[in-house]
Symmetry: C2
Subunit: 393 residues, 2 copies
């Protein structure tokens, strides 16, 4: 079903479920474990594709919801597809569009599925039915109806390599009965997504990921992974509510990973903290994505090793006359040239360039982390000792 | 007086005052005629120094006024000087700080000296005396007193290669008597600047430019150029009010250039249109500066040849599905990778990356223009036929 794609496990960690593998796509190879950066609206904010490559990036993602609302997937298709449109020739993934619809609908699903209520945003999600989700565009109030088929069609028009099924992002603050009902509907949506994917006939240009559901309930998680394993998806994504705390998230991921088939790549949706990545890798996660490294940069946060918060706040007055780079051992173009003092100055002077410079550092940081994890697995070295170099445990 | 600097004329145009020359500085050579880009607050907005270099840039400038107000020249000095601070290792110029003080003071000198009154900005210029100018910081209302000595000290602390004397930027809407009085004071300030420059003892690290005054009055212009020629400045700048129209500006520049000594580099302050550059080059101008190419980019304007307005407005709906680059003959990294349709999209989606991509194109465009002008002069070819390729005349 996926003639131009492959998933090859190169090495299994003897002490955990971690594996060193590679995903082959029509736009190149993704060495795993790896991290996927968010080019939400067909652009990494402030950073050109060539600089993403130089910073070691192998794969990026873009958000179907945003592109569907503007400029529209048909326009991008008419321009030769998203790779050509945005000047990125490496592998790409899109999500289904569901996350943002439910996120904007519930106030913020990012908070909601993590168990934090926050309902002060306009409610743009109008209706969820068996057929799909009706929502208003965040840009102009126009109504859109997203169905599993429509999501697959849109991702088909965008032309990315890795495509994800539409699911209902179940909120955290619902009971088990709602979670079960929602899971069952997401499974039916997954089947419809698969059918639409097959109907469109990709010619091997795209590969489809399913998403495990079941919230924080182990028996539902198992039911959902069994379902996923039984369907011809190329990869599996761990989604839905991952709990209210990091500990709960690790438990949820553990249950899902015990049961997911080992011969497919597994993506963990929306997780990007350094400790979380080590935990995920040990559970067998192959790819991660999160807005955190790039968004943090836009707020002046530079990722560093060995800090409890995993970053420095460069706005802090301590850095005013600091003539050292963010990290003297870092090989990124920012650390080669610029001091923390200059970045501190740019932030306070509101000089645009800080976005580019700090984002490049954070991207390089994540790529270096993933590369060292891969090297550790290749050499069958101890993940724990690597983790101790990167995190305060 | 300027041991590490040199100005060498390589070729004189037989049909005009144009010359192909080079300025040697401690941070490298500036091939002239050339264009100086504005890194107003120690940063080209949205573009890293390395990308400025790749786009062919030889020299940039920064604004003393802005840096004096924040972060302060002493901080930049303590960080190793402005080159190290901002990661630019090529030649740099700073202005005296005067232009912004008078600009913010009068509403806008950029309009004022071009003869357009516009007095709706807060008046931050509190007093001009023989001693100097008292003004309020645009950032926090703090009072600063800028004198000729203080300007030279500040530029000394910043550590640029080319330093400019403080002058009063005479408004356009004043009579000849005021212009004469203002010119005489600016001449006295120029002498004080020279003395302070000599007192500081640069060790050959910096070179000083004087500025011709005299507004639109040919006899005053001649008096001012005679004064400049008689003092040991390294270079001459054509400043003050250049008139209310392009024609008047060309006349004013012509009078100044007839009289300025030929053995010093001449800089024309604040002029950057393509036609104006051809006119200036023919008058013997060696360097130009203007915020226009970089500011225009931030408003979605891409410089192109052969258009009356000298640019395309990429926000325009015509470009929505335009799959061609800004200019298929342009070698810049933006034209190599991105379509006008994508840039149009980035502008409307308010995706930050457009600043970087369009600025790089405009910078490359100006550098290509200057490089073709230099080649034309080297080969003793016709400037007019080159101008016809670049401008609608």
């Amino acid at each position: 079903m996926y003639p131009n794609f492959a998933f090859d496990i190169l090495k299994n960690d003897p002490k955990s479920r971690a594996r060193r593998a590679k995903i082959t796509t029509p736009h190149g190879i993704i060495e795993t474990p790896n991290f996927i950066f968010c080019a939400t609206k067909a652009s990494i904010k402030g950073v050109a594709p060539v600089d993403m490559k130089t910073a070691g990036t192998q794969i990026i993602l873009s958000n179907t919801y945003h592109l569907m609302v503007y400029p529209g997937s048909k326009l991008i298709q008419s321009m030769g597809g998203i790779h050509k449109f945005m000047g990125w020739d490496g592998p790409m993934l899109t999500d289904s569009g569901g996350f943002q619809i439910f996120s904007l609908g519930h106030g913020s699903v990012a908070s909601e599925i993590k168990g934090k209520r926050m309902n002060n945003r306009p409610q743009t999600l109008l209706k969820i039915t068996e057929e799909g989700a009706l929502f208003r565009s965040y840009l102009n109030g126009e109504k859109h109806f997203l169905t599993p088929e429509k999501s697959i069609q849109t991702q088909h028009e965008l032309g990315v390599d890795l495509v994800v099924v539409l699911d209902e992002c179940t909120p955290f603050h619902v009971d088990k009965a709602y979670t079960k009902k929602s899971m069952d509907m997401s499974h039916r949506w997954a089947i419809r997504s698969l059918k639409e994917f097959q109907r469109l006939g990709e010619g091997g240009r795209q590969a489809l990921y399913g998403i495990t559901q079941g919230g924080i309930y182990p028996d539902l998680r198992r039911e959902s992974t069994d379902f996923l394993n039984s369907q011809p998806f190329f990869g599996s994504a761990v989604g839905g509510s991952l709990g209210a705390s990091k500990e709960q998230m690790h438990d949820v991921v553990a249950v899902a990973m015990e049961n997911l088939t080992k011969d497919r790549p597994v993506h963990l949706l929306g997780i990007g903290g350094v400790r979380d990545i080590f935990n995920g890798v040990r559970q067998g996660i192959d790819t991660f994505d999160c807005v955190h490294p790039t968004r943090l940069a836009r707020h002046g946060g530079a990722l560093v090793k060995g800090q409890a918060r995993e970053h420095l706040n460069l706005k802090n007055a301590t850095f005013k006359q600091d003539n050292d780079p963010i990290d003297a051992t870092c090989g990124c173009s920012t650390c080669q040239t610029f001091s923390k003092g200059y970045l501190h100055y740019l932030l306070h002077a509101q000089e645009l360039l800080y976005v580019q410079l700090i984002t490049i550092h954070n991207v390089y940081f994540m790529n270096r982390l993933m590369s060292e994890i891969r090297e550790c697995l290749e050499k069958e070295e101890n993940l724990e000792s690597l983790e101790k170099q990167w995190c305060v445990i």
